[in-house]
């Protein structure tokens, strides 16, 4: 079970909308970091994921370990937030 879910997004990213819809559908709460509004956090997103892309979903587990899902990847996202 996830302790925290944070999604890094941008204003124009359709796949970010899809991740949010998926989490809404699963009844999960999450925080959004919009990199258009917070460009200073791009480095954090890159460091967490190793990728210059959005969406990046960071799932913090109960033991504080983190699972990072790059892109709209249901095969990885679904078990990560289960």
């Amino acid at each position: 079970m996830a302790k925290d879910i944070t999604i890094f997004t941008t204003n124009t990213c359709s796949y970010c909308v899809m991740v949010k819809r998926f989490l809404d559908m699963k009844g999960k709460t999450y925080q959004v970091v919009n990199l258009d509004d917070n460009p200073e956090r791009q480095a954090e997103a890159l460091e967490l994921s190793g990728a210059l892309t959005v969406p990046i979903t960071v799932v913090t587990k109960q033991d504080d370990s983190k699972e990072v899902v790059v892109g709209y990847n249901l095969a990885k996202l679904a078990p990560a937030v289960a």
Binding site: C13, S14, V17, D36, G50, A51, L52, T53, L74
Partner: protein, 325 residues
Amino acid sequence: MELDNTRHELVIIGAGPAALSAAIYTSREDIQTLLFEKGAIGGLAAVTDRVDNYPGFAEGVAGLELSDAMQKQAERFGSKIELGEVLSLKKDGNLISLDTTSGKLQAKAVLVATGSEYRKIGVPGEMEYYARGVHYCATCDGAFYRDKRLVVVGGGNSAVQEGMFLTRFASHIDMLVRSELKASDVLIKELEKHKDKITVHLGVTTDEIVGQDNKVTKVIGTDTKSGKKVEFQTDGVFVFVGLDPNTKFLDGSGVELDERRLIKSDTRLMTNVPGVFVAGDVRSGATLQIASAAGEGATAALMIREYLEHHEKMSTATVATLYGD
């Protein structure tokens, strides 16, 4: 949603414009309709910055906004969208069996509207720097290149349109076009307005994407007229060199594909497998437009309705005779 062993009237594979258009028609006529989408609802249209040639929008419309509207319209009539993937399908008597990430199910009819995905160039460095300097979605990843130099590879509608979108962020864009620009005249005229930021290089191939310290630094190409190597310093590369159909899941299904792996169909938009229909970009002969995909979706829906009427009234043997099993 747990779908194991459930039976459906119609399963639509995909949720792009063709799929959603078909779903609007079928669910409005009380045909129970379930759509499967493994990517973005709205397909490639949803990740397109702006759609200027879809009827009914005098000032154009954002791709995501158009997709949202289509989705809501389909859902209003009762269509259900499952976020998951169809892994395979096969004819099973008078039904079609599907293996999906949500379980196994059966359908009386299936519409394949899986569209296409952006093609890779297949050059050294492309996979190495995938999502770390090499990208295929301008609306997703353009924001990472504020005041940076970019290379856009391709000369078709997508390359020109997405290249112009990227001028919102990039300081300069080199557009590498293997032969000539193949975008529409309207887009080429629009591109002219961005010549302060976009330099178009015609007759230049993309041979290698080179990086250093985990970052893309340059693209090496060839000037096809002189045969000489050319280099472009860049911080990132966006690739729009065409589309590959999403038909891998049909391997072993018996559904006939053409040499480009697009799905063959008859005038009813039915494949060689009775009950399996096709519409949109994944169909052999499609014109790759959102408006035509929506039109094909509507046509397929009407043909599916007719097929289902026969399915209800007649035996397996009769359907097979009528529809050629």
